[in-house]
Amino acid sequence: MEHDSDIVIAGGGLNGPALALGLARAGFSVTVVDARPAAIRAGDNFDGRGYALALASQRLLRRIGVWDRVEANAQPMLEIKVTDGRAGEGPSPFLLHFDHAEIEEGPMGFMLEDRFLYRAFQEAMHEAPRITTIHEDSVVAQAPGTAGVTVTLASGRQLGAALLVGCDGRQSGVAMRAGIRRTGWGYGQTALVCAIAHEKPHHGIAHQFFMPPGPLAILPLPGNRSSIVWTESDAMAARIDAMEDDDYLAVLRPRFGDFLGEISLAGERFTYPLGLTVANRFAAPRIALVGDAAHGMHPIAGQGLNAGLRDVGALVQVLTEARRRGEDIGMIQVLERYQEWRRFDTQALAMATDMTNRLFSNDNPLLRLGRDIGMGLINLAPGLRRGVIREAAGLTGDLPELMRA
């Protein structure tokens, strides 16, 4: 079989282009199949959504030629403050405080509006050699064989490659067609997402308030703006979502507090139902899954994209090593190395995120006392605190080369 490219990537969101750029840099030829037109991806309007990029993710973006294009628009996260609170009551006296000055690697992460990230990916892909993007088409069939995989698109076009990677989200068609089942559950919670403008500067500090209905994250954007991820029960979220902007802000204000002065909306409002979905396998012969296609996570700490980029780093490394050995990059022995590398991390993170949410989204007074004491203890122990900071910066575990200093 003559291959059109070494690898076909289904999905043109963020993980797909990141993977394409990483692979092209390593010398592979890649075709990206993106259901949406190029123009939408390159859109310029701020819609209120942002990403909290861990330091490890930022390093990967730098290596694949994306970071230099967005750096000027990124807000470094210098400190993270975690507070246990109840709406209207203010924060509990126990406060977790993580300062990047305690680790030598730099800021724990960066906040970036998604419009800049999408546009940077488009530009980098356009300039990269060995990347072909097919817009407004999608993968509808895949036939893995001994010498390669034949991928059929909705337009009828067929592509031959050694490997097909599904970066096609939580309802991955690539995974479904490969017979890979998923395990998952909902939380009965919905995240309300928006950007706000505020009177006072945020000084690069991210806040996480743990409140009974769910956490509220305030993440610093450039200027006097912050990105809000606010979790409520599904029913409450639906009611809040139906409100006019003024009423919406009136509900947010007591949760938010007044430490940043007067607040107003600075973009559109979004809602995302929360749930966890993990594919039972991340690989099959000539198939690999990356990002939400492998594991859709509760976005408590913005870990979804960070976890996806870690998949990207791991898969690029596994495939590069395999090619240097002369191995067939689509064979299951090679892809299982990627699966083993990522599955442990993913399960640990999914479990930790799930536990954190269950522990903190609770009004039981004993639990509240317990977690307040726990937070106080972490705060008193610098070693423990540095561990948490490194974890938040994505610097723990077996880091792919693309994410190392």
């Binding site: 079989m1 390593a26 010398g27 001994t146 010498a147 390669g148 590069t320 240097r324 050995r325 002369g326 191995e327 067939d328 299951i332 022995q333 299982e336």
Partner: protein, 248 residues
Amino acid sequence: MQAVHGTVDPAEIAKFEAMASEWWDPNGKFKPLHMLNPCRLDYITRQVAEEFARDLNGSEPFAGLRILDIGCGGGLLSEPMARLGAEVVGVDAAERNIPVARAHAEQSDLQIDYRHTTAEAMAADGEQFDGILNMEVVEHVADPLDFLTVCGQLLKPGGIHICSTINRNPKSFAMAIVGAEYVMRWLPKGTHEWQKFITPDELFDLLSKAGMTPVDRKGFVFNPLSWQWSISERDLSVNYVTASLKPA
């Protein structure tokens, strides 16, 4: 390749393809070889790339090199070498392996010259190679010095010979024979005779007598916790590999 298409009937081909999938099944009866293979390939590719100043990150880094794989089996080493651009001849003394390896190369779209012959017969024909892979073979031959001398003759001046085998000591007896053959059932009982195992010093001595210059030796070490093989600088106590050059 011609033999498969020219003279063998389709039912035979189907049989060989089934046997090929057996050879290439990572969880099948050749599982131990599949587990060891990435490690072997790491060593081989780095040594060959270094000797001929090739960049493994480039495309087809071994283009222009003629490589002989002795004891090729189903082609677990021949195929990667061909994928890296080398012109590969794979030989096996077991006749049944040849059509099996050919069938798999055909399925994988690779050009490999598989032959049922011996190193001695190839040397008599005056064949010459830039690289010879002699992996897990020397412990099975009747006279290692005769065999390695023939390997030396098959090598072009400046060519590289990679040879791996099993050390001879109580640990290798425990690991390779009791462990692999009797406890884990990785290998059929009687695969190895412990007396035929060769120590690294003995092998270096044999390689020198065979007209080659040994330049490197490393261990292949199995870690039962990670369930993986890795290359070791120091631990050559059971499986080990050597590189030697034919003086230019």
